[in-house]
């Protein structure tokens, strides 16, 4: 009996040593980690050898080459993480391609320890997109991004103009719009258009409440501008983690975010992208009309220009500021909804991710000028998207921030600002 047990143990040991050394070129880290991604690259029933497959996710990276049977296996450290599996198209034989957009797929483990990932191959020649076409596509995307930034930036700029506050909590007003839409459409199952409308109204209410509860009392107390800015930083921190408290750290999708792209020549846009640009343009025109043609709009610009003079000429400065906060809140909320579709996804820190870009846009255009913020946003949006033609995409925000610093060096008052604004 004992001998038998011992014999079994020995066999087990030999087996396990054998298992560890059996890593071929088609397997990597499978003996090291418990979770395995695997696949079989075939075309028309024939296995394809020497195709490079790479996996990234959660800071982990590995690559492997398929064997004579077209098989590959990659061990990964974690089953909680989502991994991106990439098939390197350049290593496929001539005449075989991956179906468009499928050379990269996301893989998640469910309850199992292994997951198979397959790529759909097809016959055909790889079409390389010309630089000009890529440029055009990025340009339109950048315009879309710039327009949604502009919605947030105009609100931020108006608030700065009328109250002098650099509002860091604007990021959380952006997030609020998206989270409210998400809650209304998913938890209360309202139709998405109604959810968005109510979310925008709620964002306006949030703007009003913040002004009434925090900023107006502080203004009355005569707190300086720098302390106000630090208060807004504290508020931003508190609100952001409150969102995380209730919504968790994950990213969720709004209904309809996965709609397919429609091609217009080289430009690929989803119906959502088109709607987003359309809405942004209409809203921006409406805001311009409000600022240029209506009494309250003119009063707003007057307060922005010189609060004491405006007050002396009978303008209700507090009333104007209240309207600016409501307007700024609603615009930020709308921009949050559009940003949720553009990213895509709703998450607790989504507003904070673009806060610096919004600040960059406002500063570029000239602090406190509404139309400067619009121009600044479009420049920033275009710059972020176009810079991915040359820069790796994880550096795309760097370009826009560098431009911000360079503009401050050359024209500190911003594009539309006046000299007197610099200290």
């Amino acid at each position: 009996m004992l001998v038998l047990l011992f014999g079994l143990l020995l066999t087990a040991l030999t087996l396990s040593t054998f298992g560890a050394s059996a890593a071929h070129a088609d397997e990597i880290n499978t003996d090291q980690y418990d979770y395995v991604l695997s696949g079989n690259v075939q075309f028309g029933g024939e296995p394809i050898e020497d195709v490079l497959i790479s996996v990234e996710g959660g800071g982990y990276e590995a690559e492997v080459v398929t064997d004579a049977d077209g098989r590959w296996r990659i061990g990964v450290p974690d089953n909680e993480e989502t991994y991106t599996v990439i098939l390197d198209e350049d290593t496929l034989p001539d005449g075989v391609i991956v179906e468009e957009g499928n050379s990269e797929t996301e893989a998640e483990f469910g309850l199992t320890d292994s997951r198979s990932v397959n790529f759909f191959l097809g016959e055909g020649e790889r079409v390389t997109v010309s630089f000009f076409d890529q440029f055009l596509n990025r340009f339109v995307n950048g315009l879309n991004f710039g327009l949604l930034l502009a919605l947030a930036a105009i609100g931020l700029s108006l608030i700065f103009g009328t109250t002098g506050l650099s509002n860091f909590a604007h990021a959380e007003m952006i997030t609020f719009g998206a989270l409210a839409t998400f809650t209304l459409s998913v938890a209360f199952s309202l139709p998405i258009w109604l959810a968005i409308l109510i979310a925008i109204v709620l964002s306006g209410v949030l703007g009003f409440t913040l002004d009434a509860a925090i900023w107006k009392p502080l203004r009355k107390k005569g707190v300086g501008l720098i302390p106000l800015m630090i208060v807004s930083i504290g508020l931003s921190l508190a609100m952001r983690y409150t969102y995380q408290y209730f919504y968790g750290g994950s990213t969720s999708q709004l209904p309809g975010s996965g709609l397919a792209d429609i091609n217009f020549g080289p430009i690929a846009l989803s119906p959502i992208d088109m709607a987003s640009m359309g809405i942004s343009i209409v809203v921006l025109l409406a805001v311009s009309f409000f600022l240029l043609r209506t009494r309250i709009g003119k009063a707003t610009r007057a307060v922005s220009d010189n609060p004491s003079l405006a007050s002396a000429s009978g303008i209700d400065v507090d009333g104007v500021i209240r309207i600016v906060w409501i307007l700024g809140g609603s615009l930020a909320g709308l921009s949050g909804v559009l940003w949720a579709y553009f990213r895509p996804g709703v998450s607790w820190d989504m507003g904070f991710q673009i806060l610096l870009l919004v600040f960059a846009a406002v500063t570029l255009g000239g602090l406190g000028t509404a139309f400067g913020a619009l121009i600044g946003s479009i420049i920033v949006g275009l710059f972020v998207e176009l810079s991915t033609l040359w820069l790796p995409s994880d550096l795309k925000y760097v370009g826009a921030l560098v431009v911000l610093i360079l503009v401050l060096l050359l024209r500190p008052q911003g594009i539309m600002g006046r000299k007197e604004r610099i200290g």
């Binding site: 800071g59 650099s166 707190v223 302390p227 508020l235 931003s236 921190l237 994880d394 060096l409 610099i422």
Partner: protein, 327 residues
């Protein structure tokens, strides 16, 4: 039942932890910028990242000895301060805030990107650079101390070095703020134009202050990574905000404020999160999960920043006459 002993001893440990020392030093740097000179530097996280990466990269990739690695980090932060200062020190205070915050993000993104993976380790960060520092340790192997303060030789060495640096930095700052240089810098905070009228080169003084405080931040960044690994996501804007919370808590224009502020901040934070985590485990707070309990402390930091600025802008140790805020 709640283990109060563990909660208190975990909180007491933070009193002399190297992290507390690192935040104290970073906050002291900000005190020079913000409290004494009136510069709104929101890029302290960038200075800390440069210190951490400057030290780690020169040790790991170039095999520099400890002193040279420290010099590389300090050199990098001086260059960073010059790049930041040249465009912005002539501008109004809020421009400096936006530019420094942007520059710190640029630094973080450059350390995070896959493009420089070979040097920076991208999102994984770096580790394994502590050998040189540990070799300098004169303390013989073994465990020393009493109660909750029981550490091995490396941990004591780290704590002694960290707090010696903090004490030296405090003494230096105290002396320099009593000197003619310090008086000019404080005068710049109060009224820049008046100082200019006296024939002082305001721009140059501001630049010197930016560099000095930045170097404090850099050295703080090095202390910060000695008990842990370098991870790029540690250097987000929230890091700067936390350092600001510490500075405002202690008092912006004080020497001891940042140090005591850091101690209070970390002890309270540890006490609070220890208490909430155990209360959740014990079922006292049925509506809260343990993950949510972890987030509660960030909400609290945010609220604390707001309350301090509104109700006690001079901090615990500050003097109301010495205005903590410009304008």
């Amino acid at each position: 039942m709640i283990d109060w002993g563990a909660i208190f001893s975990n909180a007491a440990v933070e009193l002399i932890s190297p992290t507390t020392a690192a935040y104290a030093l970073a906050a002291l740097g900000l005190a020079i910028h913000f409290g004494y000179t009136g510069l709104l530097n929101f890029g302290q996280a960038g200075f800390m990242a440069l210190g951490a990466y400057g030290f780690a990269i020169s040790t790991l990739s170039f095999g520099f000895p400890v002193w040279a690695s420290v010099l590389v980090g300090v050199g990098a932060s001086v260059v960073f301060a010059l790049i930041l200062g040249i465009p912005t020190l002539r501008l109004r205070a809020d421009y400096l805030a936006i530019v420094t915050i942007a520059a710190a993000e640029i630094v973080r993104l450059l350390f995070t990107t896959n493009t420089f993976d070979a040097l920076t380790g991208s999102a994984n960060g770096l580790s394994g650079y502590k050998g040189g520092f540990a070799d300098l340790n004169p303390i013989p192997e073994g465990t020393y101390g009493f109660g909750p303060f029981e550490y091995n030789a490396y941990d004591w060495w780290l704590r002694i070095v960290a707090w010696t640096i903090v004490v030296l930095a405090c003494l230096f700052t105290w002396q320099i703020m009593r000197s003619p240089w310090g008086r000019v810098v404080k005068a710049i905070r109060e009224d820049e134009d008046a100082v200019r009228a006296l024939g002082k080169n305001v721009y140059s003084y501001k630049m010197q202050s930016l560099i000095l405080g930045g170097v404090y931040g850099t050295i703080a960044g090095m202390i910060f990574i000695l008990p842990r690994a370098v991870v790029p996501s540690n250097y987000q804007t929230s890091l700067t905000f936390f350092v600001y919370a510490i500075l405002l808590l202690g008092g912006a224009a004080t020497i001891l404020g940042p140090v005591i502020g850091s101690m209070i901040f970390w002890v309270l934070l540890s006490f609070f999160s220890g208490f909430i985590a155990r209360a959740v485990e014990a079922g006292w707070l049925p509506f809260m999960s343990s993950v949510q309990a972890g987030q509660l402390r960030f909400i609290l930091v945010g609220v604390a920043i707001m309350l301090i600025v509104i109700y006690r802008p001079q901090g615990i140790f500050g003097n109301k006459k010495e205005l903590a805020f410009v304008k």
